[in-house]
Structures are given as structure tokens and as C-alpha cells.
């Protein structure tokens, strides 16, 4: 098996990071929402909307920055819809999130032939966000390879995890948010606006997930294709659980899944093992990690609607 070890080099590390970035954004979004007490099964749909909006607006305006901003706005909008269902209507949070996922999958796919003529399954290519070489760092031996193969999205994702930790565990807003996820009644009794805090968390989750979606369309592929997320929203949820709803371990779990994915992609080209089975590797790794996670301990009030007296 020497060729299977050859894969492990700095190119693999860089690719692993790139593949884990959409998961990192989505998983941190899910973490914010679930820490505030709202289950977020809708990450997949929010990623799809973000990915689609990013490409569509970039195609219209010709500027990918505008596409990115539009995608984040769409993410916030879908987050608001999700929040309305989960918090205001107090519908079953799993059911309403499933509605968003199904709707997103259908609408984004149905709009491709509607906007761009012909019965195709993907959009035309648009301007992507490019990778760049970090001055000085990219000249370093070995590790320099990594610093020349990432875009600013990747660095943002890596910094976002400690940032989320800082906000959640070292700021009054974070304390309030976590209180809403553990005991909304207690939070309300000391004057926290539970409804508003939860809305904020779920909308932020929408923005984060959309960022993950944009990464798939505007950074990795330069186009949108039917079902481009391919279950990554759920893989992100697995990473969130494996990381026990804590930002740094969640980041680690996402990197693990990303590295596994990069490994299978590189192994495909270097061996004659079946490609089809290798494609399932990230999901199999995800399932196996869940076996070893120990009893998952979610925030206490997760999935429970808050009723103001």
C-alpha cells in the first residue's frame, strides 16, 4: 500500500481544508441555532439557496462580490422564514425544516431551465473567487504549499470557529443565546428577549449556511448544479454533533470529514479501487464517528418552542 500513503502530503492538507470549509460554515451556523434552542435540519436547503443566489446574481451583475452579498441576504431571508415557522408558528421544527429542504431542492433545480434556456441541470459558469498566495508564508518549505492554495473564504472559515466560541462563551449576547437553548423560561425571567434572541440565531445560521453554499458554487465550481450540496448540510450536522455543539471540536470534526473526502478523491486517481464506493467515504466516516461520540448531549431546550406567558 505505499501509493496509499503517497497521498498524504501538503496538497492533501490544502484540499482537505477546502473540502471542509462548506461544512465549517454550515456546522457553525447550525451550532448557533441549536445553542439557542432551535433544531436546524434546514442547513442543506439554506446552503442550496445560498449557492444558487450567489451564481444567479453574479451572472446578472457580472460581479461575484455582489453575488456573495445577495447570497448572504437570501440566507438571512430563508433563516427568517425558518425562524418564523419554528419560533412564531411553533410548528414541529423538523417538519418545517424538511419543508425548506424540499422546497430549496425543487426550486433551485426548477429555476435553472427557467432562467437559462434549455433543459440543463447546471448554470453557465461565472466568475469565481480565486485562491491566492499569502506573501512570505507561501515561500515556506512544505507548509508553504498550503498557503498558496487557499482563498480568503478558507481563512475566514478557520477564524470563524474561535470567533464563534468567543462570542458564545465570552460575551453577554452569547450567554443570553445559550440560556435560550438551555432554559428559555429562566432566560426570560431575567429579562432576556427569548423570541428575538432565537430569531437572531436562526437568521445568523441562515447567513452562515448560505456562505457554505456560496463556497460550493462561487469558489469550488464557478457554477450551480442541481442538488450541488449533495448532503453536506447533513454532514455538517453530523460534525456539529460529533463536536458536541462546541465550536473548536466542531471545526476539528469538519476538518476530519474534509480530509477523508480529500483522501478518497486523491485515492481514486492513484489506485484502481472502486470510485463509487470511495464516494461514500465521508458519509461512512460521519456515521462511524457518531458511533463513538458517546451519548450526544444536546442543549436542554432544543426543539422546544417557547411560549411567552
Amino acid at each position: 500500500m505505499p501509493e496509499m500513503l503517497d497521498i498524504i502530503d501538503m496538497n492533501w492538507v490544502a484540499q482537505g481544508i477546502r473540502l471542509s470549509v462548506p461544512l465549517i460554515f454550515a456546522a457553525l451556523g447550525g451550532l448557533l441555532s441549536e445553542r439557542a434552542g432551535v433544531i436546524n435540519i434546514a442547513l442543506e436547503g439554506k446552503m442550496l439557496f445560498g449557492a444558487f443566489a450567489g451564481v444567479a446574481v453574479t451572472w446578472w451583475t457580472g460581479t461575484n462580490v455582489v453575488g456573495l452579498i445577495a447570497a448572504l441576504a437570501v440566507g438571512a431571508g430563508i433563516g427568517w422564514v425558518h425562524a418564523w415557522f419554528s419560533i412564531t408558528v411553533r410548528s414541529d421544527q423538523i417538519v418545517s425544516a424538511t419543508a425548506i429542504n424540499l422546497f430549496a431542492l425543487g426550486v433551485t433545480a426548477a429555476l435553472i431551465p427557467a432562467i437559462w434556456e434549455g433543459g440543463r441541470a447546471n448554470t453557465p459558469t461565472v466568475e469565481r473567487f480565486r485562491r491566492f498566495e499569502v506573501p512570505l508564508l507561501s515561500d515556506l518549505p512544505q507548509i508553504g504549499t498550503v498557503f498558496s492554495r487557499l482563498s480568503w473564504f478558507d481563512y475566514t472559515a478557520l477564524v470563524l470557529a474561535p470567533l464563534v466560541w468567543l462570542v458564545l462563551w465570552r460575551s453577554p449576547f452569547g450567554l443570553r443565546l445559550r440560556a435560550c437553548g438551555e432554559s428559555p423560561e429562566a432566560a426570560a425571567s431575567v429579562g432576556v428577549n427569548v423570541i428575538r434572541t432565537r430569531y437572531t440565531a436562526v437568521m445568523l445560521a441562515g447567513v452562515f449556511a448560505a456562505m457554505g453554499g456560496v463556497y460550493l458554487s462561487l469558489v469550488q465550481n464557478g457554477l450551480f448544479q442541481r442538488g450541488i450540496t449533495n448532503g453536506r448540510g447533513f454532514l455538517a450536522l453530523a460534525a456539529m454533533i460529533f463536536g458536541k455543539w462546541r465550536p473548536i471540536p466542531v471545526l476539528g470534526a469538519c476538518l476530519l470529514f474534509g480530509m477523508a473526502d480529500a483522501y478518497q478523491l486523491r485515492a481514486q486517481s492513484k489506485s484502481d479501487l472502486p470510485v463509487e464506493l470511495f464516494q461514500a467515504l465521508p458519509y461512512v466516516v460521519g456515521l462511524i464517528t457518531l458511533v463513538f461520540v458517546g451519548r450526544a448531549v444536546a442543549p436542554a431546550a432544543i426543539g422546544r418552542a417557547y411560549v411567552k406567558d
Binding site: 435540519i41 431542492l105 463509487e276 457518531l290
Partner: protein, 396 residues
């Protein structure tokens, strides 16, 4: 319970051994007493019938308004797709009900949707959300295909064994999420969907050129043997015996859920896990049982498609039946009769989608949109019913 006095309570209608109600004249003859009791008994029966009729009427009303709301909400999208709602709905009607073949195709699509809808509904009764039917039907389809191709036996036995193999494979596919839920507390939505992707990979691997089940057509196996086919029942259309099997299974599901102790345990765990625990019901056991039963129904979804519609296993033979099943189960309010009605509605959409594509240029993805809208309407219904309760002066 406000109308407890005219509904059949736990003790049934009054019998002659009951003490006479106060104020009853003492000089009643036996015959008179008999008549009073008979009229009381028929009043109970009448009240029960009215209750049932109101229940069915309300369910039918909710069903119809949900469908109508979803279709209306989808109308702007038909315009976005460069058509207009009238053309779209006409095409939908012609493709699904406008003749023998369209009707047969509606029923052909309804068959897997009914199985899939039952799969989601049975799990949901026990409080589990199985969104992995799409993967379970692939597993069931593979197993049914293998038994159908490789085994040699008599006709009815062969079909039955192939169907059972499909059910078993689906149940095993659901065992992984069931175990993770029961012993690790991992939400089944995440694990069932991940098992879907694993199933898709296995399917591709088996039927690719040079794969273990490679057939003479690309991404498909050889045809199953004639003895393993579900017979066609409405020549010259593709309609096969699967629809009859589906309706029988729906009846069995109804009996199981509402008339057996096992079904009662499912519903109790689904409705109130704490109460179930205090009644000595192991929720882990119910989780595993419900998930595997659901997976078995999911496996049958694929098996009937393979043995009845396609007569061979094809990679990605399902256009998304497993995902439509979620909407089918919720639209049918988790009741087998409702699920049957909902599967007919989605069967119409599936069958009509070809015509929709040809005449209105709307892709099949529109059905997924309508599924999403139906589920959203089901989710939003809570708000409407709460508003209604508040306007009647009731508590929230």
C-alpha cells in the same frame, strides 16, 4: 371530554344491571325499559357515527385545502418557468387522468408512493422521522432484483420471496440509524439521510460496467425472471399487481397501528415518551422496531418498482419517491387512509409531469417544490388552528 355522556365510554352502553338514574319512574315495565335502552344504544351509535363523519370530514377538508394551497402557491413558479398556470394545470390533468394510459400511469406512480408514505407514517407514529426512504428503497430494490434474477422457483413463491428480500434489506438499512438513535441519541434525520448516500454509492458500484450485477443495458441489471415479476393487471398499460399489494399493506398498517398492542406502544412512545417509560415501555426497543418496520416498508417501495414496473434493477430508478413520501405521509395526517389519498395526489403529479414538461416546459423538479409547499402548509396549519381556537375564546 364534554360529550362523554353520549360517546361509547370504556364501559360501553348501559346494561340492565346498571342502577337506574335518579328520578326514573319506578313503575316502568320491562318492555319499556328495553325500549329506553335500545334508543339510548342507538343514540350512542349515532353519536359515534357523527363523530366519525365529522372527523373524516375535517380531515378531508384539511387535505383539500392543503393541496389547493400548495397548487396555488406553485402557480407563480409556472409563470417563472415561462408558462402559465392554466396551461400547466391542463397538461397535468391530461397527463394523469385523461385516458386509460394516464390513469394507469397515475396508479403506477401511486404504488411506490403509498408504500413510502406508509414507511414515513409508521415511523412518525412512534415519533421518528425517517427521511431515508430513498436509500431504503434502493437497498430493497437491489435485494429484490438479486433474488428475482438469481433464484429459480415457482411463480408465486418467487415473487413473494423477492418482495420479502426487499423488505428485509430495507429493514437492515434502517437498522443503522435505529441503533444510533436508540443507543447514542443521534437524531435519525441526520443518519437516515447519510445512509441514503451510502445506498446510492453501493447501487452505482453494483451496476457499473464490470460491476457484480452488470446487465446488457448501461446502469441496469439483467431482467428478473418471469416467475419473479409482479403480473400486469390492466393490459396494455404498465399497471401491475403492486397497487393491490400496496392497498393490502395499507390495511395491515392501519390494523397494526390502531388495533394491536404493538401499534399502541408505537403511538404512546410517539405521543409521550415519558408516559411510555412510566408504563414500562422500553423506548429503545420501540425505536428499533418502528425504524425497522419503516425500513421494511421502504424496502418494499423499491422491490415493487423493480419487480412490477421496471422488471430489473436500475441505478437511480426512483425519481425521488422516497422524498415525496415525506409529503405523502404528512399530507395524509399519518393515517393509512389519508396516506392512500395523498399518494394518489402525488401519483397524479408524477404521471402528469411528463405532459407538464412537454406542453408547459416545466421540469419534474416542480413536484419537489410542491412537496415542499405541502409540508410547509402542514407545518403552518398549527398557526391557523391556534388562531381559530383563540377567536373561539379557547386557550392556546
Amino acid at each position: 371530554m364534554t360529550d362523554a355522556d353520549n360517546s361509547p365510554g370504556p364501559h360501553g352502553p348501559r346494561t340492565s344491571t346498571d342502577p337506574e338514574p335518579p328520578g326514573t319512574p319506578r313503575h316502568k315495565t320491562t318492555a319499556e325499559l328495553q325500549r329506553t335502552l335500545e334508543s339510548a344504544g342507538s343514540a350512542v351509535a349515532r353519536a359515534a357515527a357523527v363523530d366519525l363523519a365529522q372527523g373524516v370530514g375535517r380531515a378531508a377538508f384539511i387535505f383539500a385545502t392543503t393541496v389547493a394551497a400548495a397548487l396555488v402557491l406553485a402557480a407563480p413558479l409556472t409563470i417563472a418557468a415561462g408558462s402559465d398556470p392554466l396551461t400547466a394545470y391542463t397538461a397535468l390533468y391530461e397527463g394523469s387522468l385523461g385516458g386509460q394510459r394516464p390513469v394507469a400511469e397515475t396508479l403506477v406512480s401511486m404504488t411506490p408512493l403509498l408504500f413510502g408514505g406508509l414507511a414515513v407514517a409508521v415511523a412518525f407514529q412512534a415519533g421518528l422521522f425517517n427521511i431515508g426512504v430513498e436509500g431504503q428503497l434502493v437497498a430493497g430494490g437491489i435485494a429484490a432484483g438479486v433474488v428475482g434474477i438469481k433464484m429459480t422457483t415457482w411463480a408465486p413463491v418467487h415473487v413473494i420471496l423477492a418482495l420479502l428480500a426487499g423488505a428485509a434489506a430495507g429493514a437492515l438499512w434502517a437498522l443503522v440509524p435505529a441503533a444510533l438513535k436508540a443507543w447514542r441519541g443521534v437524531h435519525e434525520v441526520i443518519t437516515t439521510i447519510m445512509m441514503n448516500f451510502v445506498a446510492f454509492s453501493v447501487s452505482q458500484f453494483l451496476v457499473k460496467p464490470g460491476g457484480a450485477l452488470e446487465g446488457e443495458i448501461p446502469t441496469g441489471t439483467e431482467p428478473v425472471q418471469a416467475t419473479a415479476e409482479l403480473p400486469r393487471i390492466w393490459e396494455p398499460t404498465r399497471l401491475h399487481l403492486g397497487i393491490v399489494v400496496a392497498v393490502i399493506v395499507a390495511g395491515a398498517c392501519w390494523y397494526f397501528i390502531y388495533r394491536t398492542p404493538g401499534g399502541y406502544r408505537f403511538r404512546l412512545v410517539g405521543a409521550n415518551p415519558v408516559a411510555a417509560r412510566f408504563n414500562g415501555i422500553s423506548s429503545s426497543r420501540v425505536i428499533v422496531e418502528a425504524m425497522m418496520l419503516s425500513g421494511a416498508l421502504g424496502g418494499l417501495t423499491g422491490a415493487v418498482e423493480v419487480l412490477g414496473t421496471h422488471r430489473r434493477f436500475l441505478d437511480s430508478f426512483s425519481p425521488g419517491y422516497g422524498f415525496d413520501s415525506i409529503a405523502v405521509a404528512l399530507l395524509g395526517a399519518l393515517h393509512p387512509v389519508g396516506v392512500a389519498a395523498a399518494s394518489f395526489f402525488f401519483g397524479l403529479l408524477r404521471a402528469g409531469s411528463t405532459q407538464l414538461q412537454l406542453e408547459a416546459g416545466i421540469t419534474r423538479d416542480m413536484i419537489t417544490v410542491i412537496s415542499g409547499l405541502v409540508v410547509a402548509c402542514v407545518a403552518a396549519r398549527l398557526l391557523l388552528s391556534r388562531r381559530a381556537a383563540r377567536s373561539r375564546g379557547g386557550a392556546d
